[in-house]
Subunit: 435 residues, 2 copies
C-alpha cells in the first residue's frame, strides 16, 4: 500500500485474551454533526456492519451523534453497557470539533496523554510535505492511557484501540480512503482473532453485460437457498451476486460456497467476469497482459475510461495511452479523424466512433483501441440525437465493431455507463477471440 517506510507507529495490537470474547456483541458509534444534518451519507458504518456480519460478530445497535462531547460520552457509555466492542467512526482530525479521543477517554474514565512516538511521526509527515507544524496538530498525538495508536498510512489521523474492564474500543477515522484500509486491515485482523469459531463468509460474483432481472431469472432456484444464500445487488451497469455461508470456519464456509459459485459461472458464462474486489478493468487488463496493448480515444467520457484503466496498479503493462478528443478540431487535427466523417455524419455517429477507434489503433500501434463518442447532456441533445445516445467503437486485429447505446440518467450516469460498456465490449471481444 505505497511507501510504508515512513510509518513509525506500531501495528501490533495490545494483547487480549480471545476466550473472554467468544460471543462478541459490537456497536458502531458514528460521530459527526454533518452526518446528523444529512450533509454526508454514512457509508462507513454499513461497510463495518458487513464486515462484522462476515466475522460472525453480533451487531444489534448503531448510534450516530454530533460533535458534542457530553452527548458522545453518553452514547459511548450506553454502547459499553450493552456491547463488548465499540467501534467509533470519525472525529479523529486535528480540529477543536474532533472530539472522539476526548469522548472515548471520558467514557472509559481515563486520561489522554501525548504519545511521543506518534508526535514525532506526525512531525515527520509535516516535514516531508514541507508544511509548517501547527500546534493544534498535537491533538492527533493524544492517546487514552488504556489505548494504543493504529497506523494510518493514508492520513494524519491515527486510529486507536483501547481496552478497559474487558471492553474493547476501536476508533477509526472518517475519511473513506483512511477508514477502509484501517478497517479491512488491522481492525479486521484483530476482530477475527477474537471472534471465535462461528463465521459468516461470503464471496461476490461480479456480473456484467446482462441485467439484474435476467440474472435473477437464470438463478431463480438458487436465490431461495438457505446456506449459502445468494443475493443480487444492482450496481452501475453491473450486478454483484453475494454468496454467503455460515460455518464453523472460513475454510468450511468456503467449501459450501465453492460449488454454488461454480454453478453461477456455468449458467452465466463470461458474464460472471470476476470475484470480490476484481474490477472489470482489472479483469480486462489481466486478460490482455503479455498479449495485447490498448489505447483509447474519448469524447463524451472525457478521460473517464483512461482514468478507470489507469486506476489499476500495473496498468502500464497494457495501456499505452489515449486522446481526449473533446472538440471536433482535436478529433481531426490530433487524432486524424477525416474531416468528411464529421461533416457528413457528425461527431456523435457510428462512423465517427469507428474512425476514432481505427485512428487511435493505427496511430498508437496498439493491438486494440476503444472509442467513445456521445451526448452526455444535460444540454446538446436533439430529437434525432437525444441526450444519452452514445457510440462505442472497438478496433482490433480482426476488425472494428461499433455499438449504439441509448443510456438513461444524468450526465454522470451517461458518462459512467459509457465507460462501463466500453470495457464490457472489450471483454466480450477478448473472450470470443480466446475461444
Amino acid at each position: 500500500m505505497g511507501d510504508t517506510s515512513s510509518v513509525r507507529t506500531e501495528t501490533r495490537m495490545p494483547d487480549l485474551n480471545p476466550t473472554t470474547m467468544i460471543c462478541m456483541r459490537a456497536e458502531i458509534v458514528s460521530v459527526g454533526t454533518e452526518l446528523l444534518l444529512g450533509q454526508i451519507v454514512d457509508t462507513n458504518a454499513p461497510m463495518m456492519g458487513q464486515m462484522l456480519a462476515e466475522l460472525g460478530v453480533q451487531h444489534t445497535h448503531r448510534q450516530t451523534v454530533g460533535d458534542n462531547l457530553e452527548r458522545l460520552v453518553d452514547a459511548l457509555r450506553l454502547a459499553l453497557s450493552r456491547s463488548d466492542m465499540v467501534i467509533t467512526i470519525g472525529g479523529l482530525g486535528p480540529t477543536m470539533d474532533d472530539i472522539t479521543r476526548d469522548g472515548v477517554a471520558g467514557a472509559l474514565g481515563v486520561e489522554l496523554v501525548t504519545n511521543d512516538r506518534l508526535q514525532i511521526h506526525l512531525q515527520e509527515i509535516f516535514a516531508s510535505r514541507r508544511l509548517s507544524w501547527v500546534e493544534s496538530q498535537n491533538r492527533q498525538a493524544m492517546v487514552p492511557t488504556c489505548g494504543e495508536p493504529i497506523d494510518n498510512p493514508h492520513g494524519t489521523a491515527p486510529g486507536l484501540v483501547c481496552r478497559k474492564d474487558g471492553k474493547l474500543v476501536f476508533c477509526l477515522p472518517g475519511p473513506k480512503n483512511e477508514f477502509v484500509p484501517m478497517a479491512r486491515g488491522p481492525v479486521r485482523e484483530e476482530i477475527l482473532r477474537l471472534a471465535g469459531t462461528r463465521v459468516f463468509h461470503s464471496r461476490v460474483v461480479r456480473v456484467c453485460g446482462i441485467g439484474e432481472a435476467k440474472v435473477e431469472d437464470l438463478l431463480k432456484d438458487m436465490m431461495s437457498s438457505e446456506n449459502p444464500t445468494v443475493a443480487p445487488y444492482a450496481k452501475l451497469a453491473e450486478v454483484h451476486l453475494r454468496v454467503t455461508s455460515s460455518a464453523e470456519s472460513i475454510h468450511a464456509a468456503e467449501a459450501k460456497i465453492a460449488p454454488v459459485v461454480s454453478e453461477i459461472q456455468n449458467r452465466l458464462g463470461w458474464h460472471a467476469y470476476g470475484f470480490d474486489e476484481d474490477s472489470l478493468e482489472k479483469v480486462v487488463l489481466d486478460r490482455m497482459r503479455g498479449k495485447y496493448s490498448l489505447a483509447v480515444a474519448e469524447s463524451c467520457s472525457g478521460g473517464g475510461l483512461g482514468a478507470r484503466i489507469t486506476g489499476v496498479p500495473g496498468s502500464s503493462d497494457v495501456f499505452a495511452g489515449g486522446w481526449i478528443t473533446y472538440s471536433n478540431e482535436f478529433k481531426t487535427q490530433e487524432l486524424g479523424v477525416d474531416r468528411a466523417v464529421l461533416e457528413t455524419h457528425g461527431a456523435v455517429s457510428e462512423e465517427c466512433a469507428r474512425a476514432m477507434a481505427e485512428r487511435a489503433r493505427s496511430q498508437s500501434g496498439a493491438d486494440f483501441a476503444l472509442s467513445i463518442t456521445g451526448i452526455a447532456g444535460p444540454g446538446g441533445g436533439s430529437e434525432d440525437k437525444p441526450v444519452g445516445l452514445v457510440y462505442i467503437g472497438l478496433a482490433g486485429p480482426t476488425g472494428t465493431t461499433v455499438e449504439e447505446h441509448r443510456f438513461r440518467g444524468g450526465r454522470d450516469a451517461v458518462q459512467g455507463r459509457s465507460v462501463q460498456n466500453a470495457l464490457v465490449l472489450l471483454l466480450r471481444t477478448l473472450v470470443k477471440g480466446d475461444q
Copy 2:
C-alpha cells in the same frame, strides 16, 4: 405526489398545541436488520436530517436498530426520554419482521387497534390491483390508540403519527419512493406548523490550496462564535467551511451569515474559491469561459483530470481535449516530447512535466495546458523518486510553471490529489493574471 384520488385515509393531523413545541428536539430511529448488516446504506435518515435542520428542529441523536421488538422498544424509550419528537423509518410492511407499529405502541404503553377505514382502504388497493387479500396484510391496518394513519399514495404501508404526554412520534415507511413523498409532504407540513418560525440555514465556503489546520489557525476566533457557527470539514485536498445561523427566517439567517462569509473571504483570499455546490473544476471553467481554452497532458492520472473537467456540463466551451501519455512512446510520438528529455531526466521529472505542458499547449493551440506526471504506486518507486512524487506543469500565455509534490496515500489518493492540485495551480495562475 402522484395520484391522490385513490387515497381515502385522512391527511389531517391530530391537533397539537404549537406553543408546547417551540424549541423542539427530534431523534431519528432507523429500523431494519439490513441496515445494521450493511446490505443497505441508509439515505433516508440523512434526508430527514437535512429537512429537520432546514426547519430549525434540533436533532442530536440517531439510532439504528434491527428487527427486534425488545431492542426497538428500548431504543424508542431512550429517544422519547430525551427528545420531543421521534421519527421512525422502516418496519411498516406487512410481514412478521415489520415491528415498528408494535414497538411504538410498546414504548408509548398503548394498545394497537384495527383502523376500519384503513382496512377498507387496503382491501380496495388489493382489489384494484387484482391481488387476493392476504391475512397478514391486516397488520398494516393496525394503529396505536393514540395515533392516526398518514396517507401513503405510493405503497400499502401507511405512515403513523402518534401523540402522548406531549411527545410526538412519526412512523414513515422505508422504501425511498414511499418515504420521500411522505417526509416532504404531510410530515414536513406538520413539523413546520409546530416548529414555529425558527430556522437553521447554512452556506458552505469551499477552500483549496491550504490545509485544514492552517485554515483553522487563520479563523480561530471565528470558529468559537455561536451564531453563526463556523465548522471545517476536510475533503480530499480541500476544506469546506460550513457557516450556520439560526434565525426567525431564512432571510434573517442569510443576513447573519453574509458578513461572516465576507470575513472568511478577506482572510483566505483566492483560497476561498467557491460556495455550496460549486466544484473547483466548475469555478475554474467559469473563470476561463469566453477568455481562454484549456488542454491537458496526463501521465499518472491517466485521464482523471480530463474526466473531472468534462464532468461539468458545458465544459466544451473551454476544454479542447488532451493526451493520456501513459507510455514513454506516447509522450514522444503522439505529444512530441523530446526523447532527450526522457533519456536525461526520466518521465517523472520537472523537465518532462514542463515539456508535456508546453507541447500540449503548442500542439492543441489552447491558451493553457496542464500536465501531470508522477508515480502513483503502489510499485514503481525508488529512493530517489518515491511513490507519491508528482510533477504538475502549467503552460500559459506568460510562461510555464512546474510544481513538485510528494503525496501520501494509496494509488487513488495520489491520483486524486494530483488532479486536485493541477486545478489549484490553474486557479492560482488565473487569479494572479486577473490582478
